[in-house]
Structures are given as structure tokens and as C-alpha cells.
Symmetry: D2
Subunit: 148 residues, 4 copies
């Protein structure tokens, strides 16, 4: 079995992400796809389903936050160090409706010893930006994949 | 049929909330219950299901945000004026696991002509606070229930 | 000299606050007064001076943030454990002009082992709320007053 | 006198910024310099003075917020439409001390009919990022420079 020292940072990001997604029942149930990950970054997609729509006909802000938060989680766990969200802020600048395909792109803005800051941009398929999330991470210790 | 002038602010809040919830497929699909509403406030409950749990064994931050966001929506729409979330920030200060019953209590902090600020506190059944959300609302015009 | 064990939590808060303010050149230069402190809470006042006014005739949002941030700092350092701000979000819901007297009231919402969440409300003398800040603290270790 | 139609967007940004800075007593008193502006962006510098230092020896978080907020204001007013901050969130990821020279770079992330979202990064002279601000703007109507 490969040792973590033999892996590139890209390979570590991919294995950590795969380990995280395989047990993430929530993201799976919502139909999210982890399109790509790398050190400090992640790209996650999801289609707006009927049960994601709120009483005003638009995709629920909380659902958009779920998608963005998942991209944030994959980005901040991409070093295979178990990391959680301390908090986040999100601004909604557009809206999505049934069947829209959403893409959340997370990128690292800053990473210190225990804490990090990540930005996630959420787009519709047409390229229209609908939300910007800033997430603050906290490293709790431990790894996601013991075997690498 | 009753006219809106004849209703108390409490009745308006309840009718606006009922109208919103009846068409909110997302909150229904997630099993949320609107426990109580009033002018500028709302109390919403939800149990943590298997499909709400993330890869680290805890209820997904995005799911907690969905619950808090729904309480915020019921509070800021309680005057029967169609109002949307402009943005929110949430701090996670505790965690929830499978079968935990969560309560989100939203209360108005400020309300201007078009914008408002709401705080939502999310508790576990034991009373432990797990998240604090600050939401900013924007009134778009129109009502939720035409008939009142 | 008194030992920390002999002091009430109220006395500890007052001594930590006094130690902090005595060396805080910024708050002093801005004319802030620490009106009251207690465990997890603080009340700080300041008048709007000519050099606090921005190009649109209103007290600069950053200056209001300075005042609120100082109240937050006194509240989160009130246990005599050196604590810093990790981040904050502030919503501006009113405005202040020259000579307005502002009061910032900070209160603890949550406090864990290393991190805490505080809310600060900023009022004008008439009682009108003009800003709400949510601050996240991080305990770095060490104390503010060695002698207690 | 030149008409606004004859000006490039870059010239409009420069004139709006100059008009705003000329009356902004706060930014002037703090020694801020507007290094550059353009449509939706701004670069503002400031040195950390003795009266900006807090009781723990570091530049006050509120002061860093003032600087970042000023860069945000110049960016969101760069279309010569009077625009105010609705709210902001800032994460502190590093620290600054006496005599550090700080640079705040604001860039537009999204701009709708009335609201916009801006990100401001604050760096030290060495290039170390110390804070990230997300600001939400609201267009109130009117212009900054009547004569263009």
C-alpha cells in the first residue's frame, strides 16, 4: 500500500476527497458530484430538484449553502487533515430554479496553522454567479484516509 | 372572506407562514415543522436524518443552515410582504448527530423600509446551542397570501 | 496582593478590562469610554467626532466597527484569558452623524474551550439601533493582568 | 465642463473617488492614500500609527476594517452612483504592528441593479495577507460628482 510520503499533493487531495464523499450521505442524497479537487480547491456540481424549491419558486438558500459548504469542505480537507467549518457567510446575488445545474468552485484564500479561509463561488450553467460564500475552517487533528 | 385589515398581526403572521410552508417542498421534504410564528419571529423544528449526516459523522453544516434559514424566512415574511434573504452568516458552535431534534428560533433585530436583520439560534433538545445565524432580508414587494 | 482565586468573576472582568484599556492607545485616541464590564459582557461609549465622518456626511462604517469591536474585545477578554478576534460580521441598519453619542453593548452568545461568539448592538442616544456585529473569538493563552 | 457621456469608465471612477476622498475627513485623518481606482476596484494604503495599536500590541481589528471599508467604498462608488455599505464580514488571518504599511485591494464580485458584493484583501508590505473582507453595497441614488 502506498505511503502518504510517496503521493503528490494532488493525489492526497483526491484520496481525501474520495474518502470523505464515500461516507457523506447528505451530499450523496442531494445528488452532488465532486467534479474535481486539488490542494486547497474543489469543484462540486448539483442539479436543482423539486424538493429543493422553496415556497417562492426558487431553490432554497439553505440548499445553495449546502452545495457551497460541501465544496468548501472538500477544499479545506484536501491536505488529508480532518478539518471542520467554524462558520461561514454567504451572499445571494442571483437565483436558481427547478432543473438548473449549479457549480460550486471553492478556493483557498488563506491557511494558517489551525485555521483557514476559503471562498466559494456558485454559478448556474450559463455562467451567472448566484452566491458567494466565505468559509472559516478549523483543523481538529487526525486524517481522513488512514491507509495513505 | 376576511380582509387583512380585520386581522391581528399574529393572525397575519400565521396565515403568511401557512401559505409559505404549503408550497415549500424543500422544508417539507426535510421534515421541518413550523412550531410557532408571530410578528418578526418563528420557531421551526427538524430531526437529523441519516441523509443529513456528513462524512465525519455529524449533521452537515449546510443542513443546519437550511433549518435556520427556514426559520429566518418565516420570521421575515411574517408581515405578509414577500421578502427574500439577501445573505446570511452562520457560526457553528456545537454539533448534532443522527436523531438529534433541532429547534431554530428566529427573532427580528431590526426592520427598515426594505431591509431587515434577523438572528436565529439553533438548539439541540438538551438546550445546547449549536449555531447562530444572522440573516439580512430584502422586501421585494407583493404578498404571500392574496386572499387575506 | 490579591490572588485570582479570591476575586469574583465580576472583579476579574473589571481588572482585565482596566488592564486592556490602559494600554489600548487606539480606543483612547478615539475617545472611547468603557462604561461597564462583566463576565462575557461590556458596554462602551463614544461620540462621533469630525474626523469620524466620511465623504457622505455620516460616521464611517469602519469607525462604528472599531467601537463595536472594542466592546467585543472587552467582553471576550473578561475572563482574564488573552483572547483575540478571529473575524466578525457587521450589518449597518441606521446611520450616525457628527456629535451623536454611540453605545455598544456586547454580550456572549456562546463560549467553548477556545472559541466564542459575541453579539454587539450599537445604539444612538435616542435608542435607535444602528449596527449589529457578530464576533468570533479565539483564546490564545496567557492572561491580561499578571498580578491578579 | 466635460459631460459624463464623454468620460471613459476609468475617468468616471477617478473623479468619483477624488470627490469622495476630498470630503472624507476620517480617511484623511487616518492617513489613508487612494493609490488607484478603476471601475469596480480600488487600492488604498495606510501605515499603522501609534494610535492604531491595541492593548495587545497589534493594530486594532477595527482600524484594519476602516482601511478595508474605505477601499470597498471607493470600489462600489466608482460608477459615480452614491452607494453605501449595507454590511460586511471580515476574517483576520494575520496581524500588523506599529509602522507596518498596509494595502487594501478591493474588487467587485457581483453587481446587480441596487446591490453589489465586493471582496477586499488587506496585505502587509511583505505581501502577507492579514484580512479578507466581504462587503455588500446598496445604491441609494444620486451621484458623487454633480459636475461630471
Amino acid at each position: 500500500m502506498s505511503k502518504v510520503e510517496d503521493l503528490t499533493t494532488q493525489q492526497i487531495a483526491e484520496q481525501a476527497s474520495a474518502a470523505m464523499h464515500s461516507t457523506d450521505q447528505c451530499s450523496q442524497a442531494m445528488g452532488m458530484q465532486i467534479v474535481a479537487v486539488g490542494p486547497g480547491c474543489a469543484n462540486v456540481e448539483m442539479a436543482v430538484r423539486e424538493d429543493f424549491v422553496n415556497g417562492q419558486g426558487y431553490c432554497h438558500g439553505g440548499i445553495i449553502t449546502c452545495l457551497a459548504d460541501t465544496a468548501f469542505a472538500h477544499a479545506c480537507n484536501s491536505y488529508n487533515r480532518r478539518t471542520v467549518a467554524q462558520g461561514l457567510s454567504i451572499e445571494f446575488v442571483g437565483s436558481a430554479i427547478l432543473d438548473d445545474r449549479l457549480t460550486a468552485v471553492a478556493s483557498e484564500q488563506s491557511r494558517g496553522r489551525q485555521t483557514g479561509v476559503y471562498q466559494v463561488l456558485v454559478y448556474k450553467a450559463c455562467g451567472k454567479l448566484i452566491a458567494l460564500l466565505t468559509g472559516k475552517s478549523f483543523e481538529r487533528g487526525g486524517t481522513l484516509t488512514a491507509e495513505i
